[in-house]
Every structure is written in C-alpha cells, then in structure tokens.
C-alpha cells in the first residue's frame, strides 16, 4: 500500500505510522571500513626525493614537529609517511602545505613505494618495528635522525645498525656508540647539529646573568616515574619542598611536567595542583605549562634550569646557563655514556639540601662549570654544525 492509498483509505493508520516514524531511532549508518591508505596534497607523478617516516601513533607528531620546518627550509621534494590515521589527520590540520601519506600495513607502504620512483632517502625520527616495512628497499638510503639527544640507553643499541647513516647532533652520540660495546662498523655517523636549537644557541651568546634585563627565570623540567621503580628518576616528589627554599631567588618560575607523570603512580597525578597551591602563596610569578607547550619555547625564556635525567638536559644546554640535575641515590642508572657525564657540565644533586647549597653558590657568582658547559655545547649539541645549518646542507646534498 502506497502512502497516498494509506492516507485515503486508512487515515488513522497513516498518521499513527507518521508519528511512529518521526520518533523512531534513526537507523544506524552502515559501518565504514577503517581506511588503510590515504594521502594529502599528494601527486604520484611528482619527483619526491626525501621521505620522512614515523611508525609511532600520535606521539609521532612531536618527533615530526622537530624536523618538518627544516625539510621545508632545505627546499627539497619531501613527503611524510605515517602509520597512524589519527596522526595523519593531525598533520593535515597542522601543516596544510605539506604532502602526507598514510599507510597502515606493509602492503600499503609498498603501494606508495611503487609510485615514489625518485626517492633517494628515507628518514626515521624513532626506532619502531614497522620501519622494517621500508628498510627492505636496498636502493634507497635509510637515515636515522632521532628526536632529541639523550644519554638514555635507547640512544645507542644494536638496532641502529639497520640504517645506512645515523645523523647525530654532536660527537657525544658517536661516543655513546663506542661505549655501548658493540661493533657498528657498517653504520656511518654524520654530525648535523640540532637545528631546532639554533635560535636558543643564538640567544645564549649573551651571558645568562645579563639576559631578560638581569631577571632570573627558572625552568623546571621533570621526567615521569618510569615503567619500573628502578627506572624512576623523577624529582616530582621532592620539587614542591625544594621550591619552598629556592623560590625567593627567582623573578619567574616556569614548570613543565612530563606528560606521563602519574601514569604508574596515581598519587603523582595531583602534583600539578599541589605545586600551584604552594606557589600561589609565594611572592613569585609562576606558570605551569600545558602539555602541548613546546619545551624549546620555554627554554628561550629561562636562564636557570632544574632537570631530571632525560633529553631535556641537552635541550637546556643550548641556553648556556646553569643546569641543576636530579640524580636519585640508590638507583642503578643505566645510561649510554659519552665522554662527558652530567656531573661534568651540570650541577648534580640528590636531595634538597644539596640543590639549595649548589644553587646559592652559583647565584652568588660561582658558576664554576661555565667552561665545561660550553665544551659540552659543542660536544653534545654540535653547536657549530647547528649554527652553520649542516642538517639543511646534508638534505640538499642528497637531492643531488
């Protein structure tokens, strides 16, 4: 029976059905199959020569953020390949002018590689298992570029040998490989500096005491509590009490907690609130940075640092200002050692008393690690290579 016939012959039923249809739940849309492959700004006939790959999930965004602008500045034909659809969507939004590809599995990666016939090099900011899906292309150069420089053991292990080249910031990273005790003779290490730290290095040419009109700005950068207690190097549990003793020296305190703080120890989830309550009561300007705030942005605004063991130490080093590093006692700290240890160029402390004592000494004019710090800037960060845009030159060299 058509609607018209129903209206004519059974008007009661017609209106009853009309009401029922109006209030009925909408039919669920058929489930669309999640995408395995997608592209943005991509032209398969374009002669892309450089490919930047991350096998990470959305955490890969911070890795890519470190490098994208320099690929752009080098003016090379590059494309980004990601393996997580959410990350693909984020990149499209953040970098509407670049080419991004998404390939879920090995099969989809192959689809793109068949089209990318001009490709000369693939770049990897981190070691993930799915890098393997690209590494079997023997005719392409595979280059590890990392996402920061750290003394953690993840910085120098045997898996790095799968790459043709390892582009490092400075000599320190090469020494970490020598000290790791394995043969890496097939891997070529090339010093390229840390392009993302160039601006900070330029600022650091002014003595730290004379920056910001003589003001003292502290930046506290924590790590998280780690997967296991033996890997727990964080100072978050003592920093609140430490602030009671040291806040008075500073005009401004900035805090950036590791985004994973509280992941294993739930009680640490409140640390941000605790710090805020405490500092509110004190006569000091302070700010607790949101998770998305870039560390480099905060480093530019500081001239004294308190750090935990992590890559942020080397980031802060670029500012050429005193760094106080928390080294917990009684922990077997597994580090990938270079020729310079933290104690050589930073003021290390294991408790609040030690921190206060060393900080007072430094602020009173005894910055006795200044020279060593400058040595470390070259050795760890590759200051000269950074200031001379070596990374960009190497990218251009590959373009041919």
């Amino acid at each position: 029976m058509s609607k018209w016939t129903k209206f004519k012959n059974k008007p009661v039923l017609f209106f009853k059905d009309m009401v029922l249809n109006a209030v009925a739940k909408p039919k669920p849309k058929p489930k669309t199959k999640p995408k395995n492959i997608a592209s943005f700004n991509y032209n398969m006939f374009y002669p892309y020569t450089h490919l930047l790959h991350t096998g990470e999930n959305v955490t890969g965004l911070s890795h890519l953020d470190l490098w994208i602008s320099y690929f752009k500045e080098a003016d090379v034909e590059f494309v980004i390949l990601v393996r997580n659809f959410e990350l693909f969507e984020l990149l499209k939004e953040k970098y509407p002018y670049i080419t991004v590809l998404f390939a879920k599995g090995k099969k989809e990666v192959e689809t793109y590689f068949k089209q990318l016939s001009h490709l000369k090099a693939c770049f990897y900011p981190s070691n993930t298992g799915n890098n393997l899906h690209l590494l079997h292309h023997n005719h392409i150069k595979h280059i590890f570029i990392g996402h920061g420089d750290s003394d953690k053991t993840a910085s120098a292990h045997k898996y790095f040998r799968v790459y043709d080249e390892n582009w490092v910031a400075g000599e320190a990273h090469i020494d970490r490989f020598y000290n790791a005790g394995f043969d890496f003779s097939g891997l070529k290490n090339i010093k390229v500096g840390r392009p993302s730290l160039k601006e900070i290095l330029q600022i650091s040419e002014v003595d730290w005491r004379e920056r910001f009109d003589g003001k003292l700005n502290l930046l506290y950068l924590s790590t998280w509590e780690g997967v296991y207690e033996e890997q727990n190097y964080t100072s978050v549990s003592i920093i609140n009490t430490a602030f009671d003793s040291i806040y008075k020296y500073f005009d401004e305190i900035n805090i950036k907690l590791h985004p994973w703080v509280g992941r294993r120890e739930e009680n640490l989830l409140r640390i941000s609130k605790i710090l805020e309550t405490n500092l509110q009561e004190k006569e000091v300007a302070y700010k607790i940075a949101e998770k998305h705030i870039n560390v480099d942005f905060l480093i530019k605004k500081a001239n004294i640092f308190i750090c935990d063991i992590s890559a942020v130490i080397t980031d802060s080093l670029a500012a050429n200002a005193p760094i106080f590093v928390y080294i917990p006692k009684g922990k077997d700290i597994k580090l990938s050692k270079s020729k310079m240890g933290y104690e050589d160029y930073t003021y290390v402390f294991s408790n609040i008393e030690e921190l206060v004592e060393k900080m007072e000494d430094v602020l009173n004019g005894n910055d006795y690690l200044k020279e060593k710090r400058e040595e470390a800037m070259e050795y760890i960060l590759g200051r000269d290579e950074t200031l001379n845009d070596e990374f960009i030159s190497q990218l251009q060299k590959l373009q041919g």
């Binding site: 590494l135 053991t153 292990h157 043709d164 790791a180 394995f182 890496f184």
Partner: protein, 340 residues
C-alpha cells in the same frame, strides 16, 4: 595473560632464547628447530609473542620453558628474569624483533626457517643482528651480493642439521628398485602423460605421492587396471622413509625442491612442452636435472640413467645450497656449545 615465568626453571641457567613471532607459523618454526636445540645440551627457552599459538605450544611441549610476552615491557621482564641469557635466536626477520635487538648485552643471531634460504629477500634490516647462521655458501654469496659492506655482520655456515639423517641414508649402498613419483600440480600435462610413463616402466615398483584427491582416485583405478606394482600416497609423510629404497625421482617443475638434492638421486623433471627450458627458474639449477617434455626424451633419459652423468653436479649443489659437509660435521652443535 601471564608471562608464564613460573615455567622458568630456577635451577638451570638459560644460555639462549628463541624468539617466535609468527602467529600462524610459530608451531612450524618451533618443530623445525626444537630437536637441534635439544641436542645442543644447553639450557634454553622459547619466547612466543602471540597468545593463541603460545597456548598451543605449551600444550604440545609441556616439558619446555615456553614464555609469553605481549609488549616490549613484558619482553624486558622476561630478559631480566634470565640473567644468564647470552644469545637470542631469530627464525624470522620480523618487526617485533626490535624489542629484543635493543639489548646490547645479548648476542643476536638470525637462524631462519626451513624455507628462508629460498624465500628471504636480503635487505639492510638484517644488519641489526650480530651473526647470521646460514646453511651454506650459497647464502653467504647472497648476502655479499646484497651488501656493499657487511660491516660487523658475521656469516657462519652451519649446514642444515635437520637433513643430517637424510644425507647419511643417501650415502648407504642399497639395492634400489623403486621409482619415486612426486606430483604436485593436478593441472599439469605431466599427469596426463603419466599413464604412458608408467607403462614404459612397468617392470619397476613405484611409490607415487599425489596431493590431489581426484588424480589419486583416477590413478588408483589405472594402476589396478594394469596390475602395476605400486603404492599410492596422498601425503608426503612416508617420503623420507621410501626415498632410501628409490632408484630415481620423477617429478614436475611445480614440485622440484632444493631439498631433493639431499637424497642424492637422479632427478627427472617434467617440463611442459610450451615452456622454454632456458626461461625456467627452478630452485635447483638445470645442469643438475634431467629435463624432459615428451615420451622420447623421457625414454632417452631412462636408457642412460645408470650412467647418471649429473651425479657430480648434484653433489656440488648439495654442498653449495644445503651445506652438506657442515651438516655432517655437526657445525651447528659446535657453535651452540661455543655460546656458553
């Protein structure tokens, strides 16, 4: 799912661990290697990365230390629980291997699977390992062709220990009167010509292996009809046993396998007439095979088979592709012993 750490025998110090990563093939990989590792007289464990196959393997091998790890953190727990561990063996070059390759204090050795010599595409990712244990010189050559510079990577020839008994049997002098026929491809012309060949050789005894039900039934009727002296098998489980009695092996291009070289018997291979012999790419080079495409060529081969002019070629390739001498010398057991 627990790691199954309670399975670790606290009274033994495990020297090596085998990393199994393929959900579908873990069972095959384990069964291919387990006897070799058992004979090594060293303590070892297996680390399985797939929950389903882990469940199957602990049922099948309850006497072994089989552990399970899902995440990289689980892997670390398992490595830390075996402080005496020195070596990890990898049958497969898989993405998850990275979870173990980051341990610098361990030696990482790629050992492959039964078919990895033929199937593996050598690429830069193999450079993550410290050593590759290869069956033979052919694999050494393959690596050298693919890498300009091997760098730290050490290639060690260990033979194919799983073939040792086959090699030993093949050297025994026994009166042989059986002809082995191995038929894989039911569509091949070979099957159509089979009746002609069988009648030509009717004075012999045949052992015929077929993996196709229809052909099996047709052939059975044919053999009974002509009262031919033969045994028919629908699978290859008896193949190794019967091969010792065999005079030669007849097969087709779809079924020729590198492992036939271990039997050291004349290999007669049917090539359909529409295929140019020179364009064929087989696991075994042509110059070690008796190729035929029609009855006349076949008869010619059979007439001269006792001279077996390709014997030395076959032996050369058995050494080059299967590492016969290294197998007979128990190279793998010597190397396993050196790990401790």
């Amino acid at each position: 799912m627990a790691y199954n750490l309670e399975k670790l025998n606290k009274h033994v110090k495990n020297i090596y661990m085998i990393h199994l990563v393929d959900s579908k093939l873990n069972k095959n990989h384990l069964s291919y290697w387990i006897e070799v590792f058992e004979k090594s007289e060293q303590n070892f464990s297996f680390l399985v990365r797939d929950e389903k196959s882990f469940g199957e393997l602990i049922q099948l091998y309850p006497q072994h230390q089989i552990l399970y790890a899902s995440t990289p953190v689980d892997v670390e727990t398992i490595v830390n629980a075996q402080p005496s561990l020195k070596v990890v063996f990898f049958p497969l070059n898989a993405a998850k291997n990275i979870h173990l390759l980051r341990f610098n204090h361990l030696k990482h050795i790629f050992i492959g699977t039964k078919h990895s010599d033929q199937l593996s595409v050598i690429n830069k990712s193999y450079k993550a390992y410290d050593e590759i244990w290869v069956s033979s010189q052919s694999m050494v050559d393959k690596y050298n062709e693919n890498f300009e510079n091997l760098g730290h990577l050490q290639l060690k020839i260990v033979g194919k220990p799983q073939l040792k008994n086959v090699f030993l049997e093949s050297e025994k002098m026994v009166q042989k009167d059986t002809i082995i026929l191995n038929i894989a491809n039911s569509n091949s012309l070979f099957v159509n010509q089979l009746s002609v060949l069988l009648l030509t050789l009717k004075s012999h005894h045949f052992s015929i292996f077929i993996n196709d039900n229809t052909i099996f039934r047709r052939l059975k009727e044919f053999l009974q009809g002509y009262l031919l002296n033969s045994n028919l098998y629908l699978n290859n489980s008896m193949f190794d046993l019967l091969i010792a009695q065999s005079k030669y092996i007849i097969t087709d291009v779809d079924n020729i396998s590198i492992f036939y070289l271990a039997y050291n018997q004349p290999l007669i291979v049917y090539v359909p007439e529409d295929i140019e012999k020179d364009t064929l790419r087989l696991d075994i080079p042509h110059d070690a095979l008796y190729l035929f495409s029609n009855k006349d060529e076949f008869l010619d081969i059979i007439e001269n088979i006792d001279k077996d002019i390709l014997k030395s070629k076959r032996e050369y390739y058995a050494e080059y592709f299967l590492g016969k001498q290294a197998t007979l010398d128990d190279e793998i057991y010597k190397k396993l012993k050196l790990l401790n």
